[in-house]
């Protein structure tokens, strides 16, 4: 069952993303106010969802599990690392797609409001996490420090989410995860966006799986090289 799910992950992701683009570009109607600019709605919120909640959330949960003695393992550290790398990509995509939408809609590429600034700060946190990993040579110290850092910086995620509620921002409020639970998106536009949410979430897990595999094979290669070097040294000494 697990194997079938893993095999299907890639094709289903591609199918859902293709469906999102097809519905977003050709099936859904233009918006009453935004016209065709609304079509970015089908990619920007799903990308932001993956950047903030899915990937940063996965990195945070994996970091917690690493720090907890009962579940501590290299696998948890690797998952946190890989998820954070993907988070960087999605945070950049969030800012870029938001900018592309903001220029014609708001009239500016960027506004220093609470939502945009706190999202940029999360991007800096994610980059700092990766830099911190490279700064530490000892694998155990590296894993522990980066796990603590990921958990501390995750406090920014709820700040980003509630920034549009707590403060006055140029960025609009939530469209799907509203405080009242009311959906503010019409018919086929909503379905397209929801398919986008599922598609981009699966894309994250697909990327995570592939990145994780790469990391495992890289570690195995390093270990093999060390073993080979030791064997060579031993044979020289014999």
């Amino acid at each position: 069952m697990m194997k079938v799910t893993q095999r299907l992950l890639g094709p289903v992701t591609l199918l859902l993303l293709a469906l999102t683009f097809w519905m977003g570009l050709w099936v859904t109607p233009p918006d009453k106010v935004q016209g065709n600019l609304v079509r970015l709605l089908y990619v920007h919120p799903p990308i932001a969802w993956v950047a903030l909640y899915v990937s940063f959330g996965t990195a945070t949960i994996a970091s917690c599990l690493y720090l907890w003695r009962r579940t501590r393992s290299d696998a948890m550290d690797r998952i946190a690392h890989c998820a954070m790398e993907i988070s960087v990509v999605f945070i950049v995509l969030t800012l870029v797609t938001g900018s592309i939408w903001g220029r014609p809609t708001w009239g500016v590429w960027w506004a220093w409001d609470a939502r945009l600034t706190s999202t940029a700060i999360l991007g800096v946190f994610a980059l700092a996490y990766l830099a911190l990993r490279r700064a530490n040579d000892d694998p155990t110290v590296r894993a522990r420090r980066s796990a603590v850092f990921a958990i501390l910086t995750a406090i920014n995620v709820p700040i980003i989410h509630f920034s549009v509620v707590w403060w006055k921002t140029l960025h609009q409020g939530a469209s799907v995860l509203t405080s009242t639970g009311q959906l503010n998106v019409h018919g086929s536009m909503l379905w397209t966006m929801l398919i986008g949410f599922v598609g981009f979430t699966l894309l994250f897990f697909w990327l995570l799986r592939e990145r994780y595999r790469l990391e495992v094979s890289r570690d195995a290669r390093v270990r093999t090289r060390v073993d080979e070097a030791l064997a060579t040294r031993r044979s020289e000494g014999a």
């Binding site: 409001d113 800096v124 609009q172 040294r233």
Partner: protein, 159 residues
């Protein structure tokens, strides 16, 4: 043979712990600097990105001619396009109104009955006229189909 075994005995690794600590501190220092710059640009200066018309008029005396971001809804029938930009009336939630004369071309979505944020200042310490230098459209989180009742004809065209 005894010499070989001694040569293969694990040796103490070089003192990399302090180097790692220094690098980590460097990363944290750069992080604090960058986040500080972002915070000073964004959250600390404009945690609340704008003043509503009601708030601005409520603190009219203290605002003077200070540059602010003013938010309100563009009142229908008041937009006049000028050579320099546009003039229109901005309405607050109550009966408060401000006459805005803005320079520069408004954004693509600028229209009547839409919330906007105008960067500018009141023209004098007591005036209710606002001179804008930039208009930003504040879009709501509602997305409504342009023609929800439009049906498709058998040949695929919309009616």
């Amino acid at each position: 043979m005894a010499e070989t075994v001694e040569a293969l005995t694990p040796v103490e690794p070089p003192a990399s712990r302090s180097r790692s600590n220094r690098r980590s501190l460097g990363v944290i220092a750069v992080l604090v600097l960058v986040v500080g710059v972002l915070l000073s640009q964004g959250l600390l200066k404009s945690l609340n990105y704008f003043e509503t018309v009601d708030q601005a008029l409520g603190q009219r005396a203290s605002l003077g001619t200070k540059v602010i971001r003013l938010e309100g809804v563009v009142e229908p029938g008041t937009i006049e396009r000028t050579n320099a930009g546009a003039s229109f009336t901005l309405a607050g939630s109550g009966s408060h109104h401000v006459l805005v004369t803005a320079q520069g071309s408004p954004p693509q979505l600028f229209q009547a009955d839409i919330p906007v944020v105008v960067v500018g200042h009141f023209v004098s310490a007591t005036s209710l006229d606002f001179a804008g230098t930039q208009i930003m459209v504040k879009h709501s989180s509602s997305y409504i189909a342009a023609h929800p009742n439009r049906v498709k004809a058998p040949n695929g065209t919309s009616r």
